[in-house]
């Protein structure tokens, strides 16, 4: 795994939507730094100028300042600008405006202690029926063998392969406790909640091998619930699917 | 009572601005927190019920006649609670004991009836773990039952310590019975909410 993707700042971003999130984070931090530094300079200046010393006395009547009110209103307006111009539109596009079903790759991701089960529908494009009763170490997803749609389904553990430049719709769920499906380089993070099937989508813009992490404490092995996220070229992805398909 | 610098004020006399004694304000605050406690549990009930595929019909699963009887018992006990306070306020200590005793007795009757209901459910293996309906039923009525037990304990204390307290400071005892009454009415009120949502809907 290439360590050049990561450093002390934001990790590299290979997603279609991530640059918006990064932009928001950067704007926020610049504004925060400006506020904090300006404000600290004022604080230090005040502390030095009004230190107790002989010949200096405190004034009882407080001067009324107009500037702070102005700054406060400005900060409040800035916050609502960020909300309206960045946060809400990004959230809307990431969480609700899904790509059309026929243009996207569909994958199910089912979390468990401490692994990610990946489920591709196979050639027929239909996920086979699953049931908790069939779940076991040999069949972690509980696929129902009697369902014809299940015959061509591809399942992997901890190996999520996707083609580049293609929207991917993930249906996320969990078998046991709450997990959180995280791909840092994709700016993707979503809780996997047992009893719910949560849709999310993303689109990778670069090929490479990256990692999937669990962001929600899920037990003793939480720290090693690591998956692999591989973005292949479209051709390579097709070959991989063929190789993985059940004989 | 004289009020020197080191004695706490407004124990008997209402505060001139707020118009209440310390204890009364305290019990109202306490009841506000109780509202939040049962409010959270009622919200839980709502959320689980709306989120469930099927929910048993109250009258078909629970014993409505017994619960109706219990509702009447609690309402009656609220009346006797008021009467016991009114008796103290008019200086009739004997009647106070009679009515307070009746209130405590009604509380016990409520618990006994509730015990029969529980026993009946257990006989049919309807334990809290059986379904979310039984889980919420036992949790809500159980927590309410604990509140009833607490109320009975307070009432019994004032029943048996009443004479001493009455002789020491009649005004203070009257105030305390009023506060105990507020609590008792609250417990009654919770049941008035529990009865329809669990048994009737």
């Amino acid at each position: 795994m290439d360590k050049n993707y990561y450093g002390w700042g934001l990790p590299v971003d290979i997603s279609a939507h991530g640059s918006q999130i990064d932009q928001l984070i950067i704007i926020l931090h610049l504004a925060m730094a400006a506020l904090f530094i300006g404000w600290s300079v004022f604080l230090v200046y005040t502390l030095i100028r009004f230190r107790a010393r002989s010949g200096h006395e405190a004034v009882h009547e407080t001067r009324h300042f107009k500037a702070p009110t102005f700054v406060e209103v400005l900060v409040a307006l800035f916050e609502f600008f960020l909300l309206a111009a960045f946060a809400t539109p990004i959230w809307l596009s990431v969480r609700q405006e899904f790509p059309p079903d026929d243009k996207a790759l569909h994958v199910r991701v089912v979390a468990q202690q401490f692994a990610w089960n990946i489920h591709y529908p196979g050639e027929d494009g239909i996920f086979g029926r699953t049931d908790p009763r069939w779940m076991g170490s040999a069949n972690p997803l509980g696929l129902d063998g009697s369902d014809p749609a299940a015959k061509d389904d591809i399942t992997t553990v901890n190996q999520l392969h996707v083609p580049v430049d293609t929207p991917v719709i993930v249906r996320l769920s969990s078998k046991d406790v709450i997990h959180s499906f995280t791909i840092p380089v994709m700016r993707v993070k979503q809780d996997a909640i047992p009893g719910e099937s949560i849709p999310l989508w993303f689109e990778a813009k670069k090929t490479g091998e990256f990692e999937i992490a669990c962001a929600q404490l899920c037990g003793i092995g939480h720290y090693r619930m690591r998956g692999f996220f591989t973005v292949d070229s479209k051709e390579k992805f097709g070959e991989w699917l063929k190789a993985e398909a059940p004989q | 009572m004289s009020e020197s610098a080191s004695s706490i004020r407004y124990i008997n006399r209402p505060h001139p601005v707020t118009g209440v004694t310390n204890a009364k304000l305290g019990i109202w605050c306490f009841l506000a927190s109780e509202v939040m406690l049962f409010g959270a549990l009622f919200s839980t009930y709502l959320l689980l019920r709306t989120g469930s595929a099927s929910w048993p019909h109250g009258p078909a699963t629970l014993n409505v006649p017994l619960a109706t009887l219990n509702t009447l018992v609690l309402i009656f006990s609220s009346v006797t609670m008021v009467m016991s306070w009114a008796s103290l306020a008019t200086g009739n200590f004997r009647k106070y004991r009679l009515y307070l005793g009746l209130t405590a007795l009604m509380g016990c009757v409520f618990l006994v009836v509730k015990g029969f209901e529980y026993g009946h459910k257990f006989e049919h293996h309807h334990f809290p773990a059986a379904s979310t309906f039984y889980a919420i039923y036992f949790t809500l009525t159980g927590l309410h039952g604990l509140h009833v037990i607490g109320g009975i304990a307070v009432n019994l204390y004032f029943l048996f310590r009443g004479r001493v307290l009455w002789q020491r400071d009649p005004e203070r005892l009257t105030n305390r019975i009023e506060c105990a009454g507020l609590y008792w009415h609250f417990v009654d009120l919770v049941w008035i909410f529990l009865f329809p949502i669990l048994y009737l809907l």
């Binding site: 407080t62 909640i193 009893g195 | 406690l37």
Partner: protein
Amino acid sequence: MSGHADPGLPFWRKYIFSTDHKVIGVQYAVTGLLFLLFGFGLATLIRWQLAYPGQPLPLIGGWFAESQMLGGIMLPEFYYQLGAMHGTIMVFLGVVPLAVGGFGNFVLPLQIGAPDMAFPKLNLMSYWLYFIGGVIMFASFFVPGGAAQSGWTSYPPLSVIASDGQTWWLIGMAFLINSSLLGSVNFIVTIVQLRADGLSFGRLPFFVWAQFVTAFLLLLAFPPLEAAAVLQLMDRLAHTSFFMPSGLVINDAVVNISGGGNAVLWQHLFWFLAHPEVYVLVLPAMGIVAEVIACNTRKPLYSYKGLVLSAVFIGFMSFIVWAHHMFLTNMGTVMSTFFQVTTMIISIPSVVILTVLVLSLWGGAIRFNTPMLFAIAFLPMFGMGGLTGLPLGLAASDIHLHDTYYVIGHFHYVVAPGTIFALFAGIYHWFPKVTGRRMSETLGKIHFVPSFILMNCIFFPMLMQGLAGVLRRMYDPLQYAHAQAAQPLNVFASAAAWLLALAQIPFILNFFGSLFWGRKTGENPWEATTLEWAAPSPPPHGNFLEAPHVYRGPYEYSPPQAKSGFWPQHVKDPR
């Protein structure tokens, strides 16, 4: 500390099961400080594992049981116990008992000119419920399977299937919640009913206002958590399914429960408490800072009204922001927008409070004594904590930062160099009132300077790690490539944390040493104006020699009428 309690009582009624608010306040404060030290100790162990994962802990590694550390190497079970219990202890057993139980109990009745709390026996009960809760939490480390290990947030279903420690945690929490409830009833009634003659609400010191709002938050926000704790106990002990959805499969076996529950319900109930709880941690701290700043700038606060209105507004708003902790639980745009808007709104009064406190310095004659240093340091540190809340409060940036070290850095900036510095300021400020002796200024400054620097060395790297995507609650930070890149920051922060532990030694020496050798002081060593300084130091049972009457607002420093430079609330004519 002699002379606090009723002199006619035997020792155990006077100092152990006392009903005197001052004794109870000191009990709360000392117990809270001990728990803070203990909780900090847990954090230093966590820091070892984060800096040097899998390496045996030197020197003290052998002291632990084999179920905790095998050959000095920390086991993941123990790591997660440390994490959960560090959070629980710092918040519920350390900061709140010290800020509300300690300072609230001791200072508040004095500041309003009351002889005691409204319900002294209830007060006694509050402390002992807290104490029992603390003992249960502490003892849970020694039950089979160890203490709670599902995080201080205890999210089900994980917490429901966890070992017995979780049951102990829930029972301990029930004791702590009931203690807080009784305490908050007591505080509200005391403030409303027992103010001295002439002390209208508009003349209350800001500290009292802060405690007043805090008491309402505790009163109304804690019961839902109590309800949640009852439900989780039912899930654990009676095998109900409040938080357990249908079809759970754990270790390849279908769990034998009825199902039908909702795992996210707990989070709603928990955060409905835990967000107001943040303000429970912060408001008393702001109250202390306001008192110390007004006294040591020798001038009135910039805008008393602004402070009070902001505190009350924060109190109301804090009940409708809770779900900003839950953006990633499949929340729609409408819900997330609502909680983002409320979150942005609640940031405004916090900014107002901070601005008022900073502007209060303008025009003063600032005395840089130890309490003032800690109070001033609170301002930028809390500012840092508040600012870093913004990227977390906006759902879009929260996608990247959620559950990373950015969150840890953010709330520690609020609570550790924020609230805890304010609490130190309070200790140095009111120590003379409690004991009749001053703490050493030299040791105080030796305590302050390294603490201030090291706090930043610990928590600033966490913000950087968070931006790099390093996730919280990782037993082994080297598992992930993105975390390996930021590992040097972990080593640095850990070293700073251990040095910070050493930096507390001057404080401990100062605290105990000053009890015996501190310079004796009169009733008003800081030349302050509020009522607590009108009572003798230490105040006797009943507090005031005669009931005080209040003539003016709380911060009349350097008024033109008074030659002495301050005009106490209870003094009719200027001196």
